[in-house]
């Protein structure tokens, strides 16, 4: 853990070496989701609701997804840009060091410019919470915290998975965008607006639905049946990372036998 912070320190130093670029990038990172949010806002001016969801409810959904996304992009960026590491042959270097590859790749890159995106999603969160009429109780607060943590885990898991594919193919990774960027765009709206197949896939297999949609039903008092299940559903999203780590280790093994 200490090492992880050291990595962070060194990389932070490198990034602020290019000050203007750093600031511009952070601003850009603020605007990308901001304009998406503005679009959602404007759509709600024209349409009364989104399949029964109000603007503020969608905003809460949106905020949770984007906070998870920006945090994991900031901290697990090493996996996101892993293909470059393979192409440049830098992965060999990690293998001759006495630490796990997971930790070293995690520490190989931090994207601090995502602070802009994080700020924007926090603003959306505050905006949603101020306008929603929620009676807060401990279980709801815990649920919200779990949702955000779960978001970080699930995106990190997907990065890990797509990095694993790099061991076999450098090309063709674009399809993983469906899960990262696509997953983000999709899960910024409540899952219930989608078709059955998509809903199932993103609840059970890549469990985005358990990160925000299901627990949100609990927070908004829309849940039916066992409320506790809705409350702890983000945990399922966290567990998603475990098979991803196994896949990663398998990928490293494969790399060591082919060297490519």
């Amino acid at each position: 853990m200490k090492l992880y912070f050291k990595y962070m320190k060194v990389l932070f130093k490198s990034q602020i070496e290019y000050r203007t670029s750093f600031i511009l990038l952070s601003i850009g990172q603020f605007f990308i989701p901001f304009l998406v949010f503005v679009s959602i806002f404007l759509l709600f001016q024209r349409f009364p609701n989104l399949a029964g969801w109000s603007l503020y409810e969608v905003a809460l959904c949106y905020a949770v997804t984007h906070i998870g996304f920006s945090l994991s992009e900031c901290f697990a960026r090493g996996f996101d840009s892993f293909s470059g590491m393979i192409v440049r042959g830098e992965f060999d270097r990690l293998l001759v060091r006495p630490r796990t590859t997971f930790l070293q790749v995690l520490g190989s890159k931090f994207e601090f410019t995502r602070v802009g995106r994080l700020l924007q999603s926090l603003m959306a969160l505050v905006y949603a919470l101020l306008n929603l009429d929620i009676v807060w109780s401990y279980d709801k607060i815990i649920t919200l915290v779990l949702m955000i943590a779960s978001g970080v885990f699930i995106f990190t898991g997907i990065y890990l998975l797509s990095a694993t594919f790099c061991f076999w193919t450098i090309e063709g990774l674009e399809v993983m965008n469906i899960l990262t960027d696509g997953g983000r765009e999709m899960s910024q709206y409540p899952l219930s607006i989608y078709k059955e197949g998509i809903k199932k896939f993103f609840t059970y297999i890549i469990p985005f639905g358990t990160v925000n949609y299901l627990p949100l039903l609990h927070i908004l008092n829309r849940a039916e049946g066992n409320k506790f299940l809705y409350m702890i559903s983000p945990l399922y999203g966290m567990v998603f990372i475990i098979p991803c780590i196994f896949a990663w280790n398998y990928g490293v093994k494969h790399y060591k036998s082919t060297g490519s």
Binding site: T20, L43, L50
Partner: protein, 267 residues
Amino acid sequence: MKAYYSFFKMRLLKGLQYRTAALAGVFTQFFWGFILIMVFEAFYRSTSSPQPISLQELIQVIWLQQSFLVFVMLWFRDSELFSLITSGNIAYELCRPTSLYGFWYARLIAQRLSGAILRSLPIILVASLLPNPYGFSSPVSLFSFGLFFVALTLGLILIVAISMLIYIFTFYTMSPTGSLLIFGVLGEFFGGLILPVPLMPPLLKSIVYILPFRYVADLPFRIYAGNIGIHEGLQGIGIQLLWIFVLLSLGNLWMKNALKKVIIQGG
């Protein structure tokens, strides 16, 4: 001209090499389109009052956007060109017996074209096989298809003219990522790629109509969908031509200035 052609061929070959990537791209774009359609469908379901663009027309626009993405995206980057500028290796380019603006321009067009050849058709094909409300359908008339084709071509010329400005801008900032990102995002927004132009509130819409960005994607796609009629379409094409003229001359002039600066600095 021959140099441009061989450059184009090389790009196409390179694209073919990465065929899995192309396939993945098709798949990704398809997924995106589907998600967008479902979101808009949910919005449209909430009201019975008529909208400036029907869901049916909007679906056509979305599929066109997805398949011609490489034509209409501003952030489509050529990192080789950027590194040429920032590393100072631009000196080599200056030794070539062609105009730098023309050569880069052709290069960027070639990139977008080769990208589109590999990706557009498959997406259009699959999208037209989809069941009715979601599928991609034929244009309203043959004439409007012709108009769409002209507007799309001019749109490509226009977007490259705009992106040339970003490359030239790099001569001054020396770091492309930040400015590219901000340019790209704003261009996307004002081009109607995030929020469809017809669904914008009046004030925003009038700003968008002043800027060049919507003439890249919004105009040709809505002509195809039948949301923009023949008359308005022809008008739009006129404005496209105007913008192309303005931006090409501006780019050429600015490039000359930027190069002067490079030469004075001694690389």
